[in-house]
């Protein structure tokens, strides 16, 4: 059915549609060559004002869809209960809750 459809209307409309979607994205990418890099830095700065985390544990992903794109920000934050009693802007790097290193470093303070 699909092939029949393709055959009837020709493949040019498909080419046109693919190009329109692709170029819409590429034009944005070209006007901000490092859009993700800039977003990453600014997001880290904003979140870092309130929560401490390791910059390496931040993942930013952009998915391009047909009509919308999604921006996924994944930040690994140390559990709050492990941070309670510590200074609010605790800047120790390690974050995993079941990590003994965290306890060791916490006890040093």
């Amino acid at each position: 059915m699909r092939l029949f459809h393709l055959f009837r209307r020709g493949s040019a409309p498909i080419a046109r549609e693919r190009l329109q979607i692709l170029l819409a994205h590429e034009r944005v990418a070209c006007s901000h060559p490092d859009l993700l890099g800039i977003l990453r830095e600014e997001i880290i700065a904003v979140i870092g004002r309130h929560v401490s985390f390791e910059p390496d544990k931040v993942q930013i992903k952009m998915d391009r869809g047909k009509s919308v794109s999604t921006l996924a920000v994944d930040i690994e934050i140390p559990n709050l209960d492990q941070m309670s009693g510590l200074v609010p802007r605790y800047n120790q790097p390690t974050a995993r809750p079941d990590n003994s290193v965290f306890g060791m470093e916490g006890s040093e303070i």
Partner: protein, 298 residues
């Protein structure tokens, strides 16, 4: 892209014509770059054909090959055995511009500045190119820079000092994508763009097959123009005359001036001069689809 979507689109941008005419009155040279991003779409053929079309009317035209290491404009113009000095020799001061320019044997107002076949493309310096173009501006009406494919140094320098750009595009996805990228670079990396001015941009569609486009097998003119949001300079039909002309080392506008592609190039050249020429796809008179395909460009 707000900058581009706001641009006038149309079969002929009236402002462009007026501006060109004004420039001709004060006898200022026009520097054109023929560019595309993608290779093999017809940049060199178009440079030679348009250069010859403009020179045939008596204008002084210099065509410059920027494809250092892979020059071909000399071959397409049939001047390959007359190359002594090249663009890089002039930049390095080895030769004077007048020594490197090769006068066409058929048209006495058409000159070629060939690229070097042996040197590295890094031998092109920005200052050197600027100096050569400034000198050419004092001697010619039209300076047409034939860009290499890609977006490397040679291509960036070919567009660097352009007043207007001809973006050669085939009605095919990869060519259109690359043209879009080139349009972005023309709007940001040229000297005019950096000064806040605008490089006039024009799409020249080559290898167009109106029969296949009518069947929906090939992107149509409107598809291409809508996607690129750039006015149309001309539509060059796919034709064996183009290959025949390059085989014998003569621009198609000289080799067979009555052929369909030659007529399309002559129309495009007149539009460059600011004339208003109806946009048609010249045909070689075969089949019903070739009945003058008059269409609005946007």
């Amino acid at each position: 892209m707000p900058a581009r979507s706001g641009m006038a689109r149309g079969r002929h941008d009236a402002n462009f014509g007026d501006e060109l005419r004004q420039r001709k009155v004060v006898t200022m040279a026009q520097v054109l770059v023929v560019t595309s991003g993608k290779g093999g779409v017809g940049k060199t053929t178009s440079t030679a054909s348009l250069g010859a079309a403009l020179a045939r009317d008596g204008a002084k035209v210099a065509v410059i090959d920027f494809d250092v290491g892979l020059r071909n404009l000399d071959l397409v113009l049939g001047a390959e055995r007359r190359v002594v000095f090249d663009l890089i020799n002039v930049i390095n001061g080895v030769a004077k511009l007048s020594q490197a320019l090769i006068r066409d044997k058929r048209l006495e107002t058409l000159y070629l500045l060939p690229a070097s076949q042996t040197r590295d493309k890094d031998a092109l310096s920005e200052e050197g190119v600027a100096k050569v173009i400034e000198e050419l501006r004092t001697k010619f009406d039209w300076i047409i820079c034939d860009s290499p494919a890609g977006i490397e140094r040679g291509a960036m320098l070919a567009m660097r000092y352009a007043d207007a750009a001809i973006i050669v595009t085939n009605p095919e996805v990869s060519s259109v994508r690359d043209s879009d990228r080139i349009i972005g670079l023309l709007d940001s990396k040229t000297r005019k763009a950096e000064r806040g001015e605008r490089v006039e941009k024009h799409v020249l569609i080559t290898r167009y097959n109106s029969v296949r486009a009518a069947r929906g097998e090939m992107l149509s003119i409107n598809d291409v123009l809508e996607i690129l949001s750039t006015p149309l300079l001309g539509i060059i039909p796919e034709s064996q005359e183009v290959l025949r002309a390059s085989n014998v080392g003569s621009p198609v506008t000289l080799n067979n001036p009555l052929s369909a592609p030659a007529r399309a190039y002559f129309d495009a050249a007149r539009r460059l001069k600011g004339e208003s020429v109806p946009m048609v796809v010249p045909s070689e008179g075969r089949g019903i689809f070739n009945k003058l395909f008059a269409r609005k460009a946007a």
